[in-house]
Amino acid sequence: MAIKKKRYALVIDSRKCINCKACVVACKAENKVPVGNFRNRINEERKGEYPKLSINFEPEQCHHCADPSCVRVCPTGASWQRKDGIVLVNYDECIGCRYCMVACPYDARYFNEEEGVVDKCTFCSHRVDKGDIPACVETCPSKVRVFGDLEDPTARIHELLSTRRYRVKEPQTGNGPQLYYLL
């Protein structure tokens, strides 16, 4: 069998999100994220006035863009993209200039003060490589997140994106974000 190309992506059904922040905690524990830094977050949007009001929760993290501006601007090649789409930082090459943080339209990166390098969501590549799913996806109690390979026609993510309407955030930056928000 020919080697199949992979393209990992994340579908987010944000209407199911209850803002419990289990994904944030799971990520911190899994990836030993320093105190004060986060690799993922839940954006809150409040609307209206009592009694007509609504609140919307929207999880966000690195969009693992198809054409990531962080990788483009990195002067040393420390920010790089795997063939399967996952955007990573090579910590040994990172000089800590933070140009990638400035260039990210989603503010998805943070600066690790202790190590002097930039860090970010890795889609838990260490787990994905073993066939597991990212920690935030595994832990989500209301099944907001669906992780998968866009090139695999049998994947749940494929079914969702074929049958449901969705949007991506800020496509006008030309980065080709790969977090899909179901409508």
Binding site: V73, T76, Y106, T173
Partner: protein
């Protein structure tokens, strides 16, 4: 929520890098202006040559200090990434600094050169072989240095302008704005240095040359800044939103009052006032020392503020958080 990834060190570096580019450009230009084959602005050219390398050298030092791992800065030179303005810039900056130091060396007087080499141990024979008179190369070095000085002046703007995620920066006018501001700061710094050098009092034609140069550069800068605002207003919503940072937002006062009025229009007015009688009325150029000092100081102040406003406001601007500003 939004924090600044780049702070004051970057502002200072962008200013100093531009200052060196402007100093080199003005000094190189002065080197070429002759009357009957005699250099008329040799003092200006020498002063500029002696000053030019230092700001960029200090600025590069600050840039390295700002890195998360400063000792890894050498990794910049193990890679060349043509898509990264910072990668291109670090090579440009290094080459320009080297050229500026060689140019300084070419302008040293013989006794100054001998004095420097007298401080180097006599056993370092290879170093002493460099003790040669290269003053005849001045024009050649200046010519080679021009494109690099322009490159350094414009690259600081490209560095910001190439970031598509920041609508405040992402227009093709920021690069030219930074270049003209750099050239204007350079000629103002040169004027300031000439005025402050009490040993060799500045002559009137030299003041006039630098003031004229500065009027040209300030005018160019002004006619980049106005289109920047007009274009931005007629651009996509994100750019329009980003401009609210200086049109009613937190950077409004510092932009309009301190940068545009005090740092640009006032020195322009002073310099035009000084030049006017000598150009239009055929009178002699008087060149008040106090006026020139004030104008030069204000231009430098404005040049610094321009970088400050752009570095900070640009980082606040973004595609998805701008709603929070209003």
């Amino acid at each position: 929520m939004h924090e600044f990834n780049w702070g004051l060190l970057i502002v200072v570096y962008l200013f100093l890098g531009g200052l060196s580019a402007g100093l080199f450009f003005a000094a190189g230009l002065a080197n070429y202006l002759t009357v009957d084959d005699k250099p008329v602005y040799a003092k200006v050219a020498r002063m500029g040559a002696l000053l030019a390398p230092w700001p960029v050298a200090i600025g590069s030092g600050l840039l390295i200090l700002d890195l998360g791992n400063w000792y890894r800065f050498y990794k910049l030179f193990l890679h060349f990434r043509w898509q990264s303005p910072m990668s291109i810039g670090s090579y440009l900056l290094t080459i320009f600094t080297l050229i500026a130091f060689v140019y300084l060396f070419a302008w040293l007087k013989e006794d100054e050169r001998k004095w420097i080499f007298s401080k180097i141990p006599a056993t370092w024979k290879q170093v002493h072989r460099l003790n040669v008179d290269i003053s005849s190369w001045r024009e050649k070095i200046a010519m080679v240095g021009f494109p690099f000085s322009i490159g350094v002046g414009i690259y600081t703007g490209v560095l910001l302008g190439a970031v598509s995620a920041r609508p405040f920066w992402n227009t093709n006018l920021v690069a030219q704005m930074f270049l003209f501001s750099a050239l204007s700061s350079g000629s103002a710094a040169l004027l300031l240095a000439m005025l402050l050098d009490r040993k060799n009092p500045v002559e009137k034609h030299e003041t006039k040359f630098l003031v004229t140069l500065d009027v040209v550069f300030i005018s160019l800068e002004l006619f980049i800044i106005l289109p920047y605002i007009i274009h931005g207003q007629l651009s996509s919503q994100a750019v329009k939103d980003a401009l609210t940072l200086i049109l009613g937002g937190p950077y409004t006062v510092v932009f309009w009052v301190f940068f545009l009025f005090l740092g640009l229009l006032v020195p322009l007015a002073i310099e035009v006032y000084e030049l006017f009688p000598s150009i239009f009325k055929g009178r002699e150029f008087h060149g008040s020392r106090r006026m020139a000092l004030t104008a030069a100081g204000l231009v430098l102040f404005g040049g610094f503020l321009l970088r400050y406003i752009f570095v900070y406001a640009g980082q606040v601007s973004s595609f998805h958080r701008m709603g929070l500003l209003r």
